[in-house]
């Protein structure tokens, strides 16, 4: 489980996160949703330690990540997998080398064992016969899937996904969502997804945290969000005229 306790983060005078208290549960797909500029990306970056929090703490299974020394943090980071918005695959490495990267850096596996693990991860995300392709030769959806394979290569306990569906067509988006959801259940991972895609919210949102103007505004499940009477939630969920009519 990942916990954010009394989290505050500012940039200059601008307070981006205000007193965030939220728990992300193990074996569930936890979603952080909110409008653009609401602070959800900053929250995710604070959770993984890419940004330092001003106040408060982040706990990984009761281990205080925010106050850890660099070496201890490094150990936790090896338990984290992250899928970035653009994939963030290393341009100079091919698909196989990208997925193998962490295995090369942190394990003493033999080349055969590493290749076996890489092929297993790629197979898990339905990428076959593409080991030698470079990121520039992959489609958007394939990049995301390779990035997922790279994220799970080290058997992570925690998986973070920053807008996994951005730039993808609806069909591929659902595919990626389902893949993340399946992997989460299969390996009992604590998954945190940052999104503003309502399809993802409805399809895979086991737990949803709605961030509004830097505050945790609402928490619930994908079923609860559809019947919530919170005005800000309704403005976000039923953003289009068509959806408002459907709700009525």
């Amino acid at each position: 489980m990942i916990e954010a306790v009394n989290l505050y983060k500012s940039f200059g005078d601008r307070e981006v996160l205000k007193n965030i208290n939220v728990q992300f549960e193990k074996g569930k797909t936890n979603l952080i949703i909110g409008e653009s500029g609401s602070g959800k990306t900053v929250l995710m970056k604070c959770l993984v330690g890419l940004l330092e929090v001003d106040k408060g703490k982040v706990l990984y299974d009761n281990r205080n990540f925010s106050e850890m020394a660099l070496r201890a943090r490094k150990a936790i980071r090896q338990e984290i997998g992250m899928l970035f918005q653009g994939g963030a695959l290393f341009d100079s490495l091919n698909v196989e080398e990208n997925v193998m990267f962490a295995l090369n850096m942190f394990t003493n596996m033999t080349p055969e064992e590493k290749l076996e693990r890489v092929n297993f991860c790629l197979c898990r995300v339905n990428i076959v016969n593409s080991n030698k392709l470079y990121p520039s030769e992959l489609s958007g959806g394939m990049k995301k899937r390779v990035a997922i394979a790279r994220a799970i290569s080290m058997n992570p306990k925690y998986l973070f996904c920053d807008e996994p569906n951005s730039g993808l067509d609806p069909k591929t988006s659902i595919l990626i969502d389902n893949l993340i959801s399946e992997i989460t259940r299969e390996y009992e991972i604590t998954t945190v997804i940052n999104t503003h895609d309502m399809n993802s919210v409805i399809e895979i949102g086991d737990k949803i945290a709605f961030i509004y103007k830097g505050e945790l505004w609402w928490e619930g499940t994908n079923e609860e969000i559809l019947v919530s009477d919170n005005k800000e939630i309704n403005d976000f969920v039923y953003a289009t005229e068509l959806l408002r009519k459907l709700k009525k």
Binding site: G49, K74, M82, F84, A88, L89, F101, M105
Partner: protein
């Protein structure tokens, strides 16, 4: 105050850069890749510039010698001294600051804006160490060899100009480049080169590493990397010359 902010930030980055590599095998492999990409990839331009630089030096020196009291072997001697002491180590390093510096800065800058550096950090990899140290090591180790080659090619260029242009005879030119030779001057030039290689790679790495934004900022970082590397090379040239050559 802005200067001190950057010096401090650069210093902290260097502390992270010079940490122990995560895996020595991966580090060694990366150093060889960088040697090939950054150093050996510059061989062509270095060869062309060196040959022509040597040739022009010989022609200009001959042009300026109009007294019969000055022996003709002075042409070879002057060309050697100019090439070894200043032209090859400093001028070639300034050219490398443009070629290699902009490459390093734009490569690391692009990795920053496309979140590849964040991906390294999330994995628990010391990104500064992984990205910058192999480049610094490769250039500091290989650039002195490149400059030694540049000196040799410069002297060959001078010889070609002397012989083909009938400036002087081959024998007199060779006599000139052998006259009053002090081996320490080669050592001085190579030490300078190693320092310049460090400046080029670390300053360019710094500008790339702290790029924020998009394509525009990557381009801006590349320009800043070249400008600051060049200025620092010129400053370091003065300091090192004073330290190593002043009586």
């Amino acid at each position: 105050m802005h200067v001190f902010y950057h010096i401090g930030k650069y210093g902290l980055l260097m502390v992270r850069t010079f940490a122990r590599p995560q895996k020595w095998n991966a580090f060694r492999k990366q150093v060889f890749i960088e040697m090939d990409a950054l150093c050996l990839g510059s061989l062509g331009i270095i060869a062309i510039i060196s040959v022509f630089m040597g040739a022009v030096l010989v022609i200009q020196t001959a042009y300026n010698i109009d007294s019969p009291w000055i022996p003709l072997y002075t042409i070879g001697f002057t060309a050697r001294q100019s090439l070894v002491l200043e032209f090859c180590p400093t001028m070639i390093s300034l050219i490398l600051a443009g070629k290699v510096g902009s490459r390093i800065s734009s490569e690391i800058g692009t990795m920053r804006v496309t979140e590849q550096i964040d991906a390294l950090e999330i994995m628990g990899v010391n990104s500064a160490n992984y990205l910058i140290l192999p480049k610094v090591t490769a250039c500091v180790l290989i650039n002195p060899f490149l400059i030694a080659l540049s000196m040799f090619l410069g002297l060959i260029g001078g010889w070609l100009a002397a012989v083909v242009g009938h400036v002087t005879t081959s024998h007199i030119y060779i006599l000139g480049i052998q006259s009053f030779f002090v081996p320490y001057e080669i050592f001085y030039a190579l030490i300078k080169t190693a320092f310049f290689a460090f400046i080029i790679t670390s300053v360019s790495g710094y500008h790339g590493y702290f790029t924020h934004g998009g394509a525009l900022e990557v381009g801006r970082s590349s320009t800043l990397a070249v400008v600051y590397s060049s200025i620092l090379i010129i400053l370091a040239n003065l300091v090192l010359t004073q330290l190593l050559l002043a009586a």
